[in-house]
Amino acid sequence: MKILVLMKMVPDIVEELEVAGDGRSLDQEFLRFIVNERDEYALEQALLLKDRLQATVVVAAPDAPEVDDVLFTARAKGADRVVKVTGLPAGAGARATAAALAATLPGIDGVFPADLVLSGCQSIDDLDGFVAPLLATALGLPYLGLVSRVAVDGGAAKAVVSKEYAGGVMGRFEVALPALLGIQGCEKPPRYVPIAKVRAAIGAGGIETVAAKEGPAAAPIEITALAKPQAAGHAEMLQGSAREAAEKVADILAARGLL
């Protein structure tokens, strides 16, 4: 069985984000990129299926800062091939990314047709669409998102998946393969791989590079301004040590008759 996992890099929000001088984009000076969290769950799901069904896993990601580390880590975790798609413009939105991937992936040897394509169903920088359903539509694959559990039968003809609704309610669906699933979670958190293995993967090399083919042009969304959000309000900050602040809170609660 062949599984394709799509991963991408997004801005790391552990760092303070700043607006660049042009007032419409992110300041790049201290900007770091981290792999999209939901994509990590997609990879984990793929690796679990690989263990259970002896599948092969190919990971593809658009070129971006720090993507090499992510691809080598995927390799160290057990991915069979890792592919970097170069040439996508910086800040390309979801539509351009999906269009380019849809044009490029089928041409990579041994990647298509895949029985199952997994990718995170959301990311923090999806401004003009979601990559997973856009890609599914472009490739003509059925799509289901917010998936947090995937089981595939031995014959790889269909998958039974659980999709998240609200209030802890899940929906079980049957999806005919090949299909593209938008992953939200996984039955286990993404596995840890020791640094020694990642370094060994880096040493062994093996990231395949493929130039992106251009997809059909898409009418862009234009950002006219970027700024730190003006909150409608802001909390009244309580000063002092943890103890002092807690005392103040307790007083407030008492005053409001909440105790």
Partner: protein, 653 residues
């Protein structure tokens, strides 16, 4: 007295019997020894022959001198006596065997020689007292860590038999008025008791005792390598081959779970162990839930080794035998190794198995998260590295950036001291004190990464190496004369595992120097009583016990020691990565809680002084969970120094 081996029994000369018995016993012994050595040789190589003079000295002090047994002086003395008795008996036996097997050799028997017999008689008496005491202790009072096992019983009976047969033999000779009477005072007394014996009766008694003695020893030799008393032969070598490094990290590896993945020295622990239980008694993880028993760990290693020797189980997995819960429960405090009389090495076993668990991906999510964040951001708090020097803002003075300008002391601050808000206050106090003393110091700020000590103890060797590389690069590009840190874990890594040429010191050493030289003027306080907690990585690992105490003394404070102080200090429970894990199952009292209770129990002491960021955090938390907040305060040593400086300023004003 007749020569036992030329006298005949049933028409056969004695030496024939001796040959038969000796060959049987020694063959069994040799086969077993060969099998054990072959099994050990299946382990990985490890060099333990370096620095021979030091190793020999260690062996003399700890084997001949039985130094570690003296933590309990009574036991130490008894054991020393039994040991030396045993040594003399061993020499005497070998001598007698040689003479007995080759009767034509022109040498006397050992007990015919005054300078052997005389000390043996007195040692035998002393040994009898010691054995009696040991037996009473084991069988009547039975302390927690001792068992009444079959092995233990056999050896006590056997030793008693040897002692009695020797003395009875001496007594028989005294009756026959043989040998130098003045050199056999005990024999004379026993001879007196046997006064009614005829000459031939004495001869028969002597022969009986001689054969009984020799047979017993030969039987013991055959039995030795199958019993726990194998440690008698194995332990001197384990002392000789002990690790001379303070940190006790196993050589670089992918970890170990099966026999051939461990080094021979790691396997050897199983053979050298006397199952005395001192390690269990000292272990904080054992005390707080019993999931981890260091003694049981070594015992399982012995089972692994013996199982492989018997070819019953070449594929046994020590991780499965011990259980991951026990493996993760260790704080790497080193109390076990500090107390082990045969210098067994428990921590390398734990670390080897942790390395393997890492590779297998069987790590708790909390630890995984922390490691992922650490890999990415260089700190165990998962925060942006740019926040590392945030504590240094608004101090009223600038802290030098050691990457940009040369400094005398490069202050390697450490994660907890930089990021934990409770510890940041202490860090700021240290900065103020250094500044007040006019110390030339600087920090690496964002250039600093976690030193990696606990990462290494968790078994993530690759991450440790990466952190070390980055830190060495940062250190290398800065000009400094010495490195100082407040964190003992950092101290240990930088000093012992980074291969640095320069000086690495703990801030208590610097404070001591500053006070002594007058650069930090302090007004001694009115003699308040405090107690001091020795951090594991400063005390047991680093050997630094006195400087903090001298600082406290210079501040005019009287240090009242807790029962478990110095090398016996009780771990706070945070080391070995445990600060990122949940409490080990078992539900006993947490180590930090036990420790604060110990401190609070001291008469007239209201302050426990610490010199480690993790200790500060663990003990202050423990004060809350034990409800001792009103009874005891936990303060960093630098806070007391600042108080004393403040007093100076007040007295100057």
């Amino acid at each position: 007295m007749p020569d036992p081996t030329t006298s005949s029994l049933l028409g056969i000369p004695g030496y024939v019997f001796l040959w038969v018995l000796a060959l049987a016993a020694l063959t069994l012994f040799a086969l077993r020894a060969y099998r054990l050595v072959r099994t050990l040789a299946r382990g990985r190589a490890e060099a333990r022959w370096d620095r021979l003079p030091r190793r020999l000295w260690n062996t003399v002090v700890n084997v001949a001198g039985q130094r570690r047994m003296f933590t309990n002086p009574g036991i130490g003395l008894a054991h020393l006596v039994i040991f030396w008795t045993f040594l003399f008996y061993a020499v005497s036996f070998a001598w007698n065997l040689l003479r007995g097997l080759f009767p034509f050799l022109p040498i006397p028997y050992a007990d015919e020689v005054a300078w052997m017999a005389f000390p043996m008689e007195w040692l035998t008496l002393a040994a009898m007292v010691a054995i009696a005491g040991a037996a009473v202790r084991r069988y009547v009072f039975t302390p927690a860590r001792l068992s009444r096992s079959r092995d233990a019983t056999i050896i006590l009976l056997l030793i008693s038999l040897l002692l009695v047969t020797f003395l009875m033999g001496q007594g028989a000779k005294a009756v026959a008025e043989e040998g130098p009477a003045s050199w056999s005072p005990v024999g004379e007394v026993i001879g007196g008791w046997l006064g009614g014996l005829s000459a031939s009766g004495a001869e028969s008694l002597f022969l009986a005792m001689w054969w009984l003695h020799m047979t017993a020893v030969l039987a013991f030799l055959a039995y030795l390598l199958y019993s726990k008393h194998l440690h008698l032969l194995a332990s001197p070598f384990s002392v000789f081959a002990a690790s001379l490094e303070p940190g006790a990290m196993p050589p670089s590896s992918e970890g170990a779970a099966h026999l051939e993945e461990f080094t021979w020295r790691e396997l050897y622990n199983g053979l050298a162990c006397a199952e005395c239980g001192r390690c269990d008694r000292a272990c904080p993880a054992f005390a707080s839930g019993g999931v981890l028993s260091p003694k049981d760990l070594i015992h399982k290693m012995k089972l692994l080794l013996l199982g492989a020797a018997a070819k019953r189980d070449g594929k046994a997995d020590l991780i499965e035998m011990v259980g991951p819960a026990a493996i993760w429960a260790c704080t790497t405090c080193r109390a076990c190794m500090e107390n082990c009389p045969v210098f067994n090495e428990h921590i390398p076993l734990i670390v080897e198995m942790r390395r393997q668990l890492m590779i297998r991906g069987e790590v708790s999510p909390g630890v995984q998260d922390m490691l992922t964040g650490l890999t990415r951001y260089g700190n165990s708090f998962g925060q942006s590295p740019r926040q590392r020097a945030k504590w240094a803002r608004d101090l009223g003075f600038d802290v030098k950036d050691a990457r940009r300008e040369p400094v005398e002391y490069l202050w390697f601050v450490g994660d907890y001291a930089s990021f934990d808000p409770r510890v940041q206050e202490i860090t700021r106090a240290v900065a103020r004190v250094f500044h007040r003393a006019g110390l030339d110091f600087g920090i690496l700020a964002e250039g600093e990464q976690n030193a990696g000590n606990d990462v290494r103890r968790l078994g993530e060797e690759g991450l440790f190496e990466m952190l070390r590389e980055k830190n060495l690069a940062a250190l290398g590009s800065s000009q400094h004369r010495a490195i100082v840190t407040t964190d003992p874990h950092t101290y240990h890594a930088l000093k012992n595992e980074y291969g640095l040429d320069g000086r690495v010191v703990h801030y208590t050493e610097v404070l001591e120097g500053l006070i002594a030289s007058g650069r930090l003027p302090v007004v001694p306080d009115g003699g308040a009583r405090v107690t001091y907690h020795d951090p594991c990585y400063l005390g047991r690992y680093g050997g630094i016990y006195e400087p903090p105490r001298r600082v406290l003394g210079a501040l005019g404070l009287k240090v009242t020691e807790m029962p478990r102080h110095g090398a016996a200090a009780y771990c706070c429970g945070a080391g070995g990565g445990r600060i990122w894990m949940e409490d080990a199952p078992g539900g006993g009292e947490r180590p930090a809680e036990s420790r604060v209770r110990e401190a609070a129990g001291l008469e007239g002491v209201a302050t426990m002084v610490v010199a480690c960021p993790k200790d500060l955090v663990m003990f202050r938390d423990a004060l809350k969970t034990t409800g001792l907040e009103g009874a005891l305060a936990v303060r960093d040593i630098v806070e007391l120094v600042e108080d004393a400086i403040g007093a100076t300023q007040r007295s100057e004003a």
